[in-house]
């Protein structure tokens, strides 16, 4: 970025290639990420604000911003907000992710 005062996500007016119109149907896990944000940002919970989600995405940095898919960016950011608020710890999350991966491996055998 030539201008440090311009966020990487703030792209209005920059040169870019043609619009590629291919589309994909969202996978169930992507829809669940969307659902989690709808729930966590609702009036009763107010736990992950949309602006917190966006800030987390903006702070992923240029590499991750382009390399991750849309809902990968979302879950990465939602998770960061929840860690920051102490809803769970990194250790709890890491152990649970390992369990999830082990369960999936078991399901495939």
């Amino acid at each position: 970025m030539s201008d440090p005062g311009r966020g990487y996500h703030d792209m209005g007016g920059l040169p870019a290639g043609p619009v590629e119109r291919g589309e994909h149907d969202y996978a169930l896990w992507e829809k669940r990420v969307d659902a989690l944000l709808v729930l966590l940002s609702d009036k009763t919970r107010d736990l992950v604000r949309v602006d917190e989600l966006r800030r987390g995405i903006e702070q992923l940095g240029p590499g991750a911003y382009d390399e991750l898919s849309y809902y990968e960016r979302w879950i990465a950011s939602i998770t960061g907000v929840l860690l920051g608020k102490g809803v769970f710890t990194s250790d709890e999350l890491g152990r649970r992710m390992a369990e999830v991966e082990a369960r999936a491996a078991g399901d495939r055998t």
């Binding site: 209005g12 870019a16 996978a27 169930l28 659902a35 729930l39 898919s69 849309y70 879950i75």
Partner: protein
């Protein structure tokens, strides 16, 4: 400027069950399970929220457009307060403040979110991939006619093009003009002419 990241990921369906879960899929499952165990959300709420978003889609917006084409008083209310008018039709707009922008005889509107991907999702469902991608977000504010041309939409030189950048709390829907030759059509017939892309403003409804 390339846009490879988003495209290489987003262009093909990624089913849940094939192969090991990706790092981020595992993260989603783990986060969801922990949130359920800690009583922040319930499994039922997550399921219901997925179903509710699945039920939203362009057909819902098409119904609103068809009603506006058929009922001038409704159209006036829709332009004044989009969310309230949609609620009249039983549509749950959630937290959305909907602004409806009307195409005119020589005025074309198109919607974007240059900063992220704000979209009238409570009305017409989740956005298409191209709406969230760098090419559309970067270019449509600066060269709208060229971008519209890539969608096959040629706007005559003497028309005004107005781009709406959803930067804060409003969400936008384009109200296209009713095509010629549809006199006497029912709302259901009219709704059949209205596509998602018409409501984003990258295409125009096709005359019958």
């Amino acid at each position: 400027m390339s846009d490879t990241g988003q495209h290489s990921h987003d262009h093909t369906p990624r089913p849940d069950q094939d192969g090991p879960p990706s790092y981020y899929q595992a993260m989603e499952t783990a986060v969801r399970e922990l949130l359920i165990e800690r009583g922040v959300v319930t499994a039922e709420e997550v399921r219901a929220a997925v179903e509710a978003m699945d039920a939203r889609g362009p057909a819902q917006g098409a119904r609103v457009v068809a009603r506006a084409w058929s009922d001038p008083a409704f159209k006036a209310r829709l332009l004044k307060d989009g969310s309230a008018a949609c609620a009249e039709l039983g549509i749950d707009m959630g937290p959305t403040h909907l602004v409806v922008v009307e195409n005119g005889e020589k005025l074309h509107n198109v919607i974007v979110c240059t900063l992220c991907s704000c979209y009238p999702r409570f009305l017409i469902g989740l956005p298409p991939d191209w709406y969230k991608a760098r090419a559309y977000r970067s270019r449509v504010v600066r060269e709208p006619r060229a971008v519209l041309g890539e969608f096959g939409t040629e706007i005559p030189d003497d028309w005004e093009v107005r781009v709406h950048d959803s930067t804060a709390d409003m969400r936008y829907m384009v109200l296209p003009r009713r095509p010629e030759g549809t006199e006497g059509w029912s709302e259901a017939q009219l709704a059949g002419l209205v596509t998602r892309d018409c409501m984003i403003g990258v295409t125009l409804p096709k005359a019958p």
